[in-house]
Amino acid sequence: MAAEPSPRFDSVQQVRDGLRDLDYLADDGIAGVAYLADRLGKPVLVEGPAGTGKTQLAKSIAELTGARLVRLQCYEGLDESKALFEWNYKKQLLRIQADRSSDSWAEVHDDIFSDEFLLTRPLLEAITADDPVVLLIDEVDRVEVETEALLLEILSDYQVSIPELGTIEAKQIPLVFLTSNNTRELSEALKRRCLYLHVDYPSLDREREIVLAKVPGVTENLAEQIARIVRSIRSLDLKKAPSVSETLDWARTLMLLNIETIDEETAKETLHILLKYQTDIAKAAKELSVDE
């Protein structure tokens, strides 16, 4: 394994302040786990509802540490040739045909299974990189349970075994973030190797801060109102509760419409930005207007 790296962060507070400067408002849990991930050299499994800033966390951490973000988007049917590595068959074929006569078979064999003919995919790229990287494995719950096993070696030992070449070890231990929308239970083996972080919808205060930070020109008063209404809507029993990104979209829309205080009418007219199902919109509109 690679030499003990120097820690990237000095304290939890430093992570928190650093992220704040990048307009990512972390709470105690988020900053604390990011700090621990660096100290322990362990991957972080980030779980939570869609649109609460899980992917953004990885991006912001990359920016904060000045690292390159290597991203592996997971989907059903992902296999090792897309995630780890692949042999460049065409190039190998050309190599064999190029000088058929001169080399013995053994030489050619050794030759075509070398670094030159290896196509690195995100996971391999992340551990062989010379510059600092942050590896983001996005929506890991989309791959099948069997495919999860692909990730285990790299997550626990930061190495990749290639049958023809042997084991490739990491030159440095990258920060690794896995995100999951919790559409299925991840395997115990995967969870055991990771630190666990649950990112939920933000509290009222934090959401207001996020709106203030992300939407230029919004007034303190409007941000407070937005955060309160969104909290109110989230407490309803909806198919899909509004996410943080939808809150921000809504705030931006209100800014474009030059609205300074939200009344029932404007709220109802712009609900379709927060909610994406007709039944949800109808329900929320009803709840917001008929109060008594």
Binding site: V12, G29, R39, E47, E185, T279
Partner: protein, 486 residues
Amino acid sequence: MSLTEPRSMLDLLNGFVTQLREAGLPVSLTENLDAMEAVQHIPLEDREAFKYALGATLVKNQAHWRSFETVFEVYFSLRGPEYALTEATGDSDLDELWREMQDQSQAGDGSGGAGSLDALTPEEIAHLLMQALMNGDQALMRALAKQSVQRFAGMEPGRPVGGTYYLYRTLRNLDLDGMLEKMMQAMAERGESASGLEQRLEREEYEHRIGEFKAEVEAEIRRRLVADRGAEAMAKTLRKPLPEDVEFMHASREEMQSLRKALQPLTRKLAARLARKRRHGRRGPLDFRNTVRHSLSYGGVPAEPKFKYPRPAKPELMVVADISGSVAAFARFTLMLVYAISNQFSKVRSFVFIDGIDEVTDYFKSTEDIAEAIHRVNTEADVVWVDGHSDYGHAFEVFWDRHGREIGPKTTVLLLGDARNNYHASQSWVVKEIRAKARHVYWLNPEPRSYWNTGDSIVGEYGAHTDGIFECRNLRQLESFVEKLA
């Protein structure tokens, strides 16, 4: 507690992990080691950071977080004389020191008014609390929570009563629901012309603060109990069950909500597992044509038998559920679960009864929103015949008259209820007839097994005619039953 010494830290953490495991959380050895390493990087004075470090390494499921928090608070609870129930008589020097330190830190965070609070009348306390809630004054709220517990809970050392009792006593004296109305009124009187929307938001803000206050009271009671009886003894009583272990019949409103949240991912997982079982589970019957065709490559010898793609029949399901007050929650969860995975059954029909019976299948068919369907079941279904007390006999009789002929050999009938029949006639012949026609008849009972056939429960009489009675008190049991079914 000297946390700095590595040896004692190890013991402390081991004890904590044991407590977690006893609460039902799965903690593996590697996770335990990770936690040990993690806390070395965290300043121990920072309680929150300490908690998050342990949480990130030990708890890998959001549904378990609440249980973890409770165990954490009890295990690493603050111990000090200010939590003692009566004035301690034999104060040692150490205790004196403790008290001094506490006083100082209290003065520091501005809640040092606790001393002056002692002199107030209950009315004044209520008024102060209302002020604190309206202004969102956290420090005052905390001080008042402390004061109310001391005053109203009537805690006595060594008395074997759970925390809920004290919580109830404290809150009853404060009348928080009435306070919410008063707060709304006060806001209206203040002359701020509030629209419907603003009023709603304001009310929710107050409700939120009241919720916070309640949590503070609960925490205070817990601290005092721990101080009285010791962390080890209290860990067991204060432990919060995991959502999948919460009993339907005794769930609080809050627990109900977490149950509902737990149900969704559970149905998704269950459906995926069942679908996989169908696809991969069994081999179909021999495919004669395919086998002969492949035998040609072996010179006509059928060396490689081919099988048909398995297509196991999906069961038809009829759910007959008691929705009288005592078991309504249980029936609701079963119906929700069944409809959420209804693509695993070829047909689902559901009936609900109290003393009359009504079919509610259409309520679920017509909407995708299960919550709304449940609401319609509760408000629109015609289930009361005479007095609205459970009468299984009459309900079954009507069911048999109206729908008996629709039960076929593919049908599985699920009967849900506690079989508490209020001493009416049982009409158990209906169940017997149903079993003769249906593929299976199962009875699900949300009561603990030891209560069966006591009082007016006649589950045994019905059960004799079914293929099995299952105790179904929590989500875990319900899940394993449904898996068996499909």
